[in-house]
Subunit: 321 residues, 2 copies
């Protein structure tokens, strides 16, 4: 089997991890990388470009892994550029998991553009992309009837990288935290997309979707090597998305990331026949897992029909050799 | 959307449960049922037939759900009959999960026959089909590297149906148990197929596969409403399949079904990067779940390419409306 040729687009922390993982896989080959910042990514030892078109012209490839942004409308122009090169796309763009949720018209246009170009395009990751959506839907596969789905992802950021501790607001006072939430600087992107993907997968029309982002206030002094949090300060973030059907809450995704969180875990509960509970003790480690699932989806997207695809269109993701 | 028309073939306990579940699904319609025993299945209120050909001629359909046997070689002739009718197939036949494991030549022939007929054919269920194989592979989707996969399924049969308690040998003495194992009357069919599917999914060539079936001896009197087990008698069965690669155990599936089993659960452990652990406390309830996953796979098989398919070829299974 000839290896699948990959161009990595975006060389931030996730992109670098993804590119290096591609280089470890027998089934894949990294042929080039793209970043607008000159000089970034030299340790990969592959040709570097500042534009997708130039990279693809010089290095024929099959798939682009795109890790440049979280918002669908912001990556849309890039998607168009990649479509023009004839590459399939796997992207960490959170809203691309289910872009119809916020931007149905633009999602349809992008879907049509991908079809015209004959390429398939997927948004995925560990969250959104796996623990709070795809895994919940897979669990429902053994249910005769589903009445409600609840998912928790509880992470103790004390054990995670310093950037993440800051990103969740640890050590801030409550006003500062709320200001940053209002400015869109704190909060996980993609929770509503996970919810919308579950609803779509179960064939449910939701009458209402709500989301709230609240600080978790430290009940006592806590912290990590990197950052101290005093009692009364913000320890992190609690973000909850709810989906209602006919006035009843049928979906709830509850994401908590804070210093000293007890019982860190991913947990899926399905009310139905049979009821199901599934737990990943300690919670899936986000950094490793995101690079993994992006790379593991590369062989899946190559054989997918053209268009904007979701995790529900592709075969079960699995570790590739 | 027009409902998918289903013919149920085999009206034992699983087949009846499946047929009734089809009747509850908006997306499906049960148009006929087939069983060689006259009079069976009248409560379904659909036309009953003793032959597949007659049923399919009289009632045009899209998919056959086949629940007549566990062994691939025994259902092979039936598969051929169904191919001739042009129906896609979802079957609970345990060995059909991955028939290449025991019968590669016959599996290839059946695959070719299905392609010629233009139909897709799938073996699935809760186990094999989900907890000890598909779910383990899906979990590996967030792994950068997998070194070993171990799965436990531990069920306390005291809470299950009486037939299952007898099937696992509860209340027998050890000699009787071993005689029945030797005669092929005790033991779960499909454990090696689960193992082979995982290896296939991970792209691993196994150097050796072993399987052993041992009695679990009651350490104290125990039992259910239906059946008493005295200390020293058989409480149930422990069945372990192992897969080796280069002399090293890389896969282990451990199935324990006995009276009074503690910590009943499905548990998946992946050694790798990142390591993953996933637990379904109480273990997925087999009876409900098997009917569910068979029915939930019906819409997936209709759109699959013709041929003998596995759970790895199809999109993530999920509860259908």
């Amino acid at each position: 089997m000839k290896p699948i040729r990959v161009i990595q687009i975006g060389l931030g922390p996730i992109g670098m991890a993804t590119a290096k993982l591609v280089q470890q896989k027998r089934a894949l080959r990294l042929v080039a990388a793209v970043d607008v910042r000159p000089g970034v990514g030299q340790e990969l030892g592959v040709p570097l470009f500042s534009s997708i078109g130039a990279a693809a012209r010089r290095h024929p490839a099959d798939v682009a892994i795109l890790t440049t942004g979280s918002r669908f409308l912001r990556v849309r122009a890039l998607l168009g550029e990649i479509f023009a090169t004839g590459l399939h796309i796997v992207s960490s763009c959170e809203e691309l998991l289910f872009p119809w949720h916020r931007n149905p018209r633009e999602a349809d246009l992008t879907d049509r553009a991908a079809r015209r170009a004959g390429v398939a395009c997927l948004g995925t990751g560990v969250n959104p992309g796996f623990v709070m959506d795809t895994l919940a839907l897979a669990t429902s596969g053994v249910c005769q009837r589903v009445e409600a789905v609840r998912v928790w992802r509880v992470q103790d950021v004390a054990k995670r990288r310093p950037q993440l501790q800051e990103k969740v607001g640890a050590g801030m006072d409550e006003d500062e935290f709320r200001g940053l939430v209002a400015a869109g600087c704190i909060g996980h992107v993609g929770l509503q997309e996970s919810l919308a993907l579950i609803a779509h997968g179960l064939g449910w029309k939701l009458s209402r979707v709500t989301e709230c982002i609240e600080p978790v206030i430290a009940a006592r002094d806590c912290g990590s090597r990197h950052l101290r949090v005093k009692k009364g300060q913000v320890a992190g973030v609690s973000q909850v998305a709810r989906g209602l059907r006919g006035g009843k809450e049928v979906l709830r995704l509850d994401l908590k990331m804070f210093m000293g969180a007890e019982n860190p875990r991913d947990e899926i509960q399905i009310s139905g026949v049979p009821p199901m509970q599934l737990v990943i003790p300690g919670a899936t480690p986000g950094d490793y897992a995101t690079a993994a699932i992006l790379v593991n989806c590369v062989p899946r997207i190559v054989t997918a029909p053209p268009g904007l695809r979701t995790m529900l269109d592709l075969p079960v993701p699995r570790a590739i050799p």
